[in-house]
Amino acid sequence: MSAVMITRKVRKWEKLPGKNTFCCDGRVMMARQKGIFYLTLFLIIGTCSLFFAFECPYLAVHLSPAIPVFAVLLFLFVIAMLLRTSFSDPGVLPRALPEEANFIEMEIEAANGNVPSGQRPPPRIRNVQINNQIVKLKYCYTCKIFRPPRASHCSICDNCVDRFDHHCPWVGNCVGKRNYRYFYLFTLTLSLLTIYIFAFNIVHVVMRSVDQGFLNTLKETPGTYPLNMNTFLLVCFFTLWSMVGLTGFHTYLISLNQTTNEDIKGSWSGKNRGQNPYSHKNIIKNCCEVLCGPTYPSKMCYHDDLGVICFSLFLTSFSACFPQKTTAPLIPNEHTPDDVKPSIAAEKSSGPKDDQPPAAKLPPLASPETDAETSIAKNQ
């Protein structure tokens, strides 16, 4: 009998106390509620399947085979953008480790001086000047950091997100610095796809009506109610208006280099609030920065690549029944640095706490070393 030592690095995302689910060894990161995301997928795939199955053969023969080919390419791009938006880390800021949190606390106390007992201490705000504009940085009590400019705390995911735009339930994830361009491309190409399908539906109906008459065409619509072409035409019609509206709104935000969050709060609108210090005052420059800027690295998931999309999709749906928020069993060994051992022991004793309310009850981010090497001895 030989003991096999398996060394396993504990990844940062495994210790993230926020309300996220992870799959594929950290490659896929989503919010907990995924129901509406599955609905989005179902609607897109359902509508397009019906289009490909019932309309494309007629259109390919009577008009041009390029029509379904272009539709397939557009459809694949839409799905790729949707999955990329949903599965990417939006730009989550890791919470402060205890030493950093204490350091900040001490600085705050030193800055406040002596507060007489009974009086509330002043709000924790830091002022910074960005491009001649005073911006207030607020302190996040959950993450124990002063939020960088444009960051905001998402209460649904319980994380601070950099350049927070909004939490999108349709996509099942927050939209932030890292996945905003994928989200925008998703809305844009989905609008185009919806317009394309809707337009060719009408062309198809018109062409058939010329041959057979309008009422006969409607009677021949394949499928039975409610899963027939007419229902999906209706879905297409309403989707079209909402998607085009959303795309237009985000185009407007991009041209001004604003986030949805800032727009809703009215941070940079109105005379009293001042000018947006992040805008280059040039529409093209703003668009280029948002859409063609550098691809920022994930601070949580080191494997954040597109990975195996279909496989991750399958795993996401499978794991929806069994949310994965595992903390690896940590057993201190001789390779663990001394200052990590007591905190590992504390984390091990408290154990995984998935169904308890977050933040306060979860074990603190244990080690100063982010990747503590652990070993699990197994007897074969």
């Binding site: 800021l93 030493e99 940085l137 960088p148 444009r150 550098p294 690295p297």
Partner: protein, 158 residues
Amino acid sequence: MATEFHNLQELRHSASLANKVFIQRDYSEGTTCKFQTKFPSELESRVELTLFEETVKTLNNFYAEAEKIGGQSYLEGCLACATAYLIFLCMETRYEKVLKKIAKYIQEQNEKIYAPRGLLITDPIERGMRVIEISIYEDRGSSGSSSSSSSVSGSTAR
């Protein structure tokens, strides 16, 4: 008494962590990654001002290079978009390349400059690019009075 260590290994094995200093971000130019070059008082007795400033300025330059919006980033963005971002399966992004350079640079600085002085710089990416964490070590043999001074009042004026 100045603590001296010959390399990182010796530092880790024979020293105990006394204190940590955090260099904060400098947001005066917007949200681009830049760190303050203000010299913390805790390091005054440990390392020269010029060496520290040199390190922070080089790191700032690296991050500026990674986040530069110009011809190369446009090309990368457009190419990636045209391939539905699948190209990142084969290719490393420019930012990731620069991060590797940064990691190497920090390792080198630690080995040459900071470890012999009993200090250790942590890569900012490990702390979410919020702070540069500098750990101050004391020699275990000379512990006692020097490590008790680790309760810093943090009175650096802002």
